[in-house]
């Protein structure tokens, strides 16, 4: 599994008097295959997640994946680190299901036939094989999130970061996404408010008011989080 390392990471948004610290002095290193992230609204979880693939470069400190700093190796980092957003509609950029998955492979050196083969294979893996030609806007919320995940995984990242992928879904679809996630053999960092998804995780980080306040087993971390929430 890739080694993710944050050293002395702080991040501020805004300028002058509007300047706000959203992450303060975060130091953490992990290489477990399942890492959860929990915390209150606005505690800095999404900022933390975006740091991991270089969508945000920290104002202080360094974020590295397998020794590659996100500040200096943006392109390489994004090839290795896939990102799954809360709202799949923002992430699905092509009008049909198959085309969207193929979009992830457009800068690979695969031939047209190889791309088609890879796309079919991944769609099958996510139970979307019959929907390849379906307009993506006609999918259900759960299917859209599956498509977003399929489109991330088709390019074979080493690490997948997911920022609340089940927040917009009903219970059945959340559980389904949870099952697909637990079946992946890539490393996963999952930000979520659905604590039950984290039960089998290796490690869970708790954020509170811009700080990493707890880094422990799921049971201990969730307990810490519940106490924080009063």
């Amino acid at each position: 599994m890739p080694v993710v390392e944050l050293t002395g990471v702080s991040h501020q948004f805004g300028e002058g008097s509007a300047r706000r610290t959203v992450l303060a002095d975060v130091n953490v290193r992990f290489s477990e295959s399942r890492v959860g992230v929990v915390g209150a609204n606005g505690s800095g979880k999404s900022t933390f997640a975006r740091l991991l693939n270089g969508l945000i470069i920290p104002t202080q400190g360094d974020v590295a994946v397998d020794g590659l700093s996100t500040a200096r190796h943006g392109r390489e980092i994004r090839r290795r680190v896939g990102f799954c957003f809360t709202d799949p509609d923002a992430q699905i950029v092509m009008p049909t299901v198959g085309e969207d998955v193929a979009f992830s492979l457009r800068s690979s050196d695969l031939s047209k036939e190889q791309v088609a083969e890879r796309v079919a294979q991944v769609l099958g893996q996510f139970g979307l094989a019959d929907l390849a030609d379906r307009p993506s806007h006609l999918l259900s919320g759960g299917q859209k999130q599956l498509l977003a995940l399929a489109a991330v995984l088709v390019s074979e990242p080493n690490l997948v970061v997911m920022d609340e992928p089940t927040t917009l879904l009903d219970m059945r679809n959340s559980r389904m996404i949870g099952e697909y996630v637990s079946g992946l053999d890539t490393q996963v960092v999952l930000v979520t408010h659905h604590l039950e998804l984290l039960e089998s995780f290796d490690r869970v980080l708790v954020f509170d008011e811009a700080r990493l306040v707890c880094d422990d087993t799921p049971a201990a971390a969730v307990e810490h989080y519940r106490r924080l929430m009063g």
């Binding site: 994004r78 923002a90 950029v93 006609l138």
Partner: protein
């Protein structure tokens, strides 16, 4: 279901025709339509077009759905042309518009967006020396097509939210949240494109 002219999979002869041929034919029809005049020519043109819809495995109803969003504009044009230039001119102008809309819809209904985009990328390649980036233009077109149902969804959401609050129709109360939603969405799409490897 498909009021937006988006690709409907199939294996008809129209589907199997290469995207370049279809786009070329569409352009040719656009040019030739200048010469299209008279009730007989218009009616024959429309019948042929409906025949092509049938050949693609589509019903006349689907053809109607492609034109339906334009019906008020078409009515307005028809009335205006009739008043200004007589009923023959009204038939010519409205008939040609309907014909071209149907032809364009037939192309998008039977061709994958990616195939259309590939053709456009090839056609634009000679313009590279002017600084045109064909792949970027292709991506923009695909994103534009993808954005149509999303924008339709946003506008329905905003309208429902207004109704729920008991507000009557007000252009400003409608436009402001719609613009905010769209900008926020555009931001998210931009971020997602970066995450998906666009530089």
């Amino acid at each position: 279901m498909n009021d937006l002219g988006l690709f409907v999979p199939g294996s008809s002869p129209v589907h199997r025709l290469p995207a370049g041929v279809k786009l070329g034919a569409l352009v040719a029809l656009g040019v030739a339509s200048i010469l299209l005049e008279g009730v007989v020519a218009i009616v024959v043109g429309l019948i042929v077009m409906l025949g092509l819809f049938g050949l693609a495995g589509f019903t006349p109803l689907l053809a109607w759905r492609q034109v339906k969003p334009l019906r008020w504009i078409l009515l307005f044009i028809a009335v205006f042309q009739w008043w200004a230039r007589g009923w023959e001119a009204a038939v010519d102008v409205v008939g040609v518009i309907v014909l071209l809309v149907l032809a364009a819809s037939l192309v998008t209904l039977t061709t994958r967006t990616s195939a259309l985009v590939d053709v456009i990328v090839v056609v634009l390649r000679p313009l590279r020396f002017l600084g045109v980036k064909p792949e970027r233009v292709g991506l923009l077109i695909a994103l534009g097509i993808r954005a149509v149902p999303i924008a339709v969804g946003f506008s329905a959401e905003v309208r429902d939210a207004q109704r729920a609050r008991g507000l009557g129709p007000s252009p400003r109360a409608y436009a402001a949240p719609l613009i905010v939603k769209s900008l926020r969405h555009a931001d998210a799409v931009g971020e997602a494109l970066v995450a998906r490897g666009m530089e």
